[in-house]
């Protein structure tokens, strides 16, 4: 296959450029990440993040032929012969396919991503019915790969003010958790022209999520709760 890869090393390049690689594939090369690892054996200067190679750690998110995804779970057979790889859009590039994710994680941390419960912890586990626990499905599985937030035009424009789909999905994950007692404060925090309401339901986030999660639905649920508490 032929890979055109975005290259930029601030240590030596004045500006970014695209570089083409012909990658000889073997039967054992199934995923795009396998092809990238092969490129690195030909040119050790190509830089990208990778770790679990099974879609749970969220390291190798990149822009694949214009669409964000994880290289390790993108099958080569599902791609055309010629593939263009760029870093995730909207975040500063550190080098090649590696972006600076500081802003993304800042937004995630801003929603207070932890259960807050003011009662003294019981001796044993807090109880939660299977139905209550079910509410967390489709939320807790997020791997923080940033495919969604960096596919979102609202996040491109206001990465410092708009929480973005990944952060909002997690905001709802804690609102939905029966063990958390901070729903009102969480809603207050999001009731803001930018933090939540920059979402214009473009739904790029849903389209690209490699885990099949739906941030738009979670955002809708938060909005519903906001409406409910005013009536």
């Amino acid at each position: 296959m032929k890979l055109s890869i975005y290259r930029y090393d601030p240590d030596k390049d004045d500006k970014p450029y695209m570089k083409d690689y012909d990658v000889p594939l073997e039967h054992s090369d199934r995923m795009l990440l396998d092809a990238l690892v092969k490129v690195k054996t030909m040119d050790d200067s190509i830089s990208f993040r990778r770790s679990c190679r099974e879609g749970v750690c969220g390291s190798d998110a990149m822009n694949i032929n214009g669409k964000n995804g994880l290289a390790c779970v993108t099958r080569i057979t599902d791609l055309p012969e010629h593939v263009t790889l760029r870093p995730l859009p909207g975040l500063p590039v550190i080098r090649d396919l590696i972006v600076d994710m500081t802003q993304f994680f800042k937004q995630y941390e801003s929603i207070k991503p932890y259960v807050v419960n003011h009662d003294a912890p019981p001796e044993r586990e807090r109880l939660q019915s299977p139905a209550e626990r079910e509410e967390l499905n489709g939320l807790y599985e997020c791997i923080l790969c940033a495919c969604c937030s960096t596919a979102c035009p609202s996040f491109w424009w206001n990465p410092d003010k708009f929480v973005g789909p990944a952060g909002l999905l997690q905001a709802y994950r804690f609102i939905a958790d029966t063990r958390d007692q901070e729903t009102a404060a969480r809603l207050d925090d999001l009731e803001d022209p930018y933090r939540l309401f920059r979402c214009h339901t473009i739904m790029n986030c849903v389209d690209v999520c490699p885990k099949g999660l739906n941030p738009t639905r979670a955002i809708g649920k938060i909005k519903e709760l906001m409406v409910k508490r005013t009536v």
Binding site: D44, N117, P130, Y140
Partner: protein, 590 residues
């Protein structure tokens, strides 16, 4: 050239389950702690753990820590230290309940309690044929749920992280051997800094990438083992590597034992449920070493599946779509993506795959690193701690039970943190003086990579290393293979000293990182093959063709490998628990 120095009360190297649990303890105590991690915390390999975390909560079956302790001792093939095992099993309920209070999204039973499933080697009533439901699970994403929860708690405590900083070498006080800190490379800038502390914890995880076929992430390169070995510390029981029975054939990706816990089982080419022959009671839920050997025997004797007859099949379609989608959704995802089969309808091709290192840096159950000194085989090294997969406590002995690894991470992450707090508070307040040559090892390693314009390619040495380990140190081990393996690894080790990289950039130079990781894998491989060749018995994960039986008279002892001259020493197993009677070694059947 002097390296910049940053000072903290405590340093934690690694941000997986044990590192984050320790960091949480330290941060909550108000200490100034730095967590160094070469990947963002939630990328750590704990995230890939699937099936559950062990705790005798007795939510579904009668259970208690005594039974858990017995299973763990037996699972370890009597090489585990019984005081440490008692300690871990007694704290299991406490640490799991704490995780729940932190917000970990465990699955639930109808009565609202944590859902628990059976797992290999976990029984009721000291090894009866009744399995214990002891594995606390969040679907088949338990590691992900746990790692994110622990990271979230560290966000809450505002723990200071140094993300994408790779620790390179330990700094020791030449006077008493105390560990004073580490050197670390900031990947984004290529700058090296000395991190100095009153207590340094290595929580760097495993080294599974040392084998060619592994369930492990790219980052599992035994960094802590390399740091310790280069600084003169021995490594314990490195011959014991767990082959997980169910890695996806051809891809190596893990399929949780939880599949068999939920009722799945293995088939050979004749459609026979062959585990019934090898383990009449526990069958497919026998201990992992037992199942992996059975699978390898089936394949070796021509009953493997596929055109090459080189794998077996995992059957779970009979569990039904509801159970699979609810309890094993990640497995379905993996099977579809990596094996092109949907387990709701199809069999999944699997093969034993390297998964976990039982050995590591010798530590006690409070996380303190212990080394032989004179007549004392376990002298405490001041200010040095190890926890998690990089440590050998030893609770897993010669074979780890499934779900005991996540438990190990939180129990010993927590106890290390507790011990570090105590030790830091008992010390005088200024830091010690650093030795004049602090950082010298690191400087020369980096200088060599900067200077060399030719030599061995990192990827070639790495590939040869992994292939050699796979061929010479597998599920079954043969004397000639082991002897030749030692030779090969020595040759490869020499080549690793001549590596070069073409990329000399300061900025996020992953070629440099991979070259530095190779140094750590080489130490891991050497420790493994030398220790395995020397141990003339079969026990747990070490199965030798020439010595097929366990030999308690001569080999009921822990191996200590020293980098210097590949010297081996041994120390006794702790057969005496903390409060209960010892479990005497018995023939191990399931």
């Amino acid at each position: 050239m002097n390296l910049p120095v940053r000072r903290f009360d405590a340093i934690v190297v690694g941000a997986g389950g044990s590192g984050l649990r320790a960091a949480l303890e330290l941060a909550r105590a108000g200490l100034k702690v730095a967590v160094l991690t070469k990947v963002f915390p939630t990328r750590s390999h704990t995230v890939a753990a699937q099936g559950g975390i062990a705790a005798p909560l007795a939510n579904s079956t009668e259970d208690n820590w005594h039974w858990h302790m017995y299973d763990t001792v037996k699972g370890s093939d009597y090489l585990g230290d019984q005081d440490a095992i008692e300690y871990m099993c007694r704290r299991a309920n406490e640490v799991v309940v704490e995780l729940e209070h932190m917000g970990m999204p465990f699955d639930r039973l109808e009565n609202g309690k944590i859902y628990q499933r059976p797992f290999g080697g976990h029984t009721q009533d000291y090894g009866s044929s009744k399995m214990a439901m002891r594995s606390c699970a969040a679907a088949d994403r338990t590691g992900h749920a746990m790692l994110h929860t622990l990271y979230q708690q560290n966000v809450r405590t505002k723990t200071q992280f140094f993300v994408e900083w790779m620790a390179l070498d330990l700094i020791r006080d030449p006077q008493d051997g105390a560990v004073l800190g580490v050197t670390a490379l900031e990947m984004e800038t290529g700058e090296v800094t000395i991190f100095q502390a009153k207590a340094t914890l290595l929580a760097t995880g495993g080294a599974g990438r040392v084998f060619y076929a592994s369930t492990n992430a790219f980052i599992n390169t035994g960094d802590g083992l390399g740091l310790a070995a280069r600084a003169g510390f021995p490594l314990e029981d490195m011959e014991f590597w767990q082959f997980h029975p169910t890695g996806v054939y051809g891809a190596g990706v893990l399929i949780t034992e939880g599949v068999r816990g939920e009722g799945g089982y293995l088939l050979n080419k004749d459609g026979e449920r062959f585990m019934e022959r090898y383990a009449p009671n526990a069958k497919d839920l026998a201990s992992r070493d037992v199942v992996s050997r059975a699978m390898t025997t089936e394949i070796k004797e021509g009953r493997g599946c596929g055109p090459e007859k080189d794998h077996v099949m995992l059957k779970l379609d009979h569990l039904g779509a509801e159970v699979i989608n609810h309890r094993l959704p990640g497995i379905r995802e993996i099977s579809i993506k990596f094996a092109n089969v949907d387990p709701i309808r199809d069999l999944v091709p699997v093969v034993p795959t390297v998964h976990y290192q039982m050995g590591g840096i010798p530590a006690n159950y409070m996380g303190r690193v212990v080394i032989p000194e004179g007549a004392n085989s376990e002298s405490i090294v001041p200010a040095f701690y190890a926890a998690g997969e990089c440590a050998c406590v030893s609770v897993h002995g010669a074979n780890r039970l499934g779900t005991n690894s996540l438990l190990d991470l939180v129990v010993f992450g927590k106890s290390s943190g507790e011990q570090m707090i105590k030790d830091i508070r008992s010390l005088p307040s200024p830091h010690r003086n650093l030795p004049k040559d602090a950082g010298e090892t690191t400087r020369s390693r980096l200088a060599r990579l900067d200077a060399n314009a030719a030599g061995e390619r990192v990827v070639d040495v790495l590939t040869d290393l992994r292939r050699a380990m796979q061929a010479h140190c597998g599920v079954f081990r043969f004397p000639d293979d082991l002897i030749l393996g030692v030779q090969k690894i020595k040759e490869i080790s020499a080549r690793a000293g001549r590596t070069f990289i073409t990329d000399k950039s300061k900025v996020f130079n992953t070629a440099r990182v991979e070259a530095l990781e190779l140094d750590n894998l080489v130490e891991t491989a050497m420790a493994t093959i030398v220790s395995a060749e020397a141990r003339k018995e079969s026990r747990g994960a070490q199965a030798r063709a020439d010595f097929p039986n366990r030999d308690d008279k001569n080999w009921m002892k822990h191996t200590l490998w020293h980098k210097e001259d590949n010297r081996l020493a041994y120390k006794p197993v702790h057969l005496k628990p903390m409060t209960v009677a010892s479990f005497e070694p018995k023939v191990r059947t399931y």
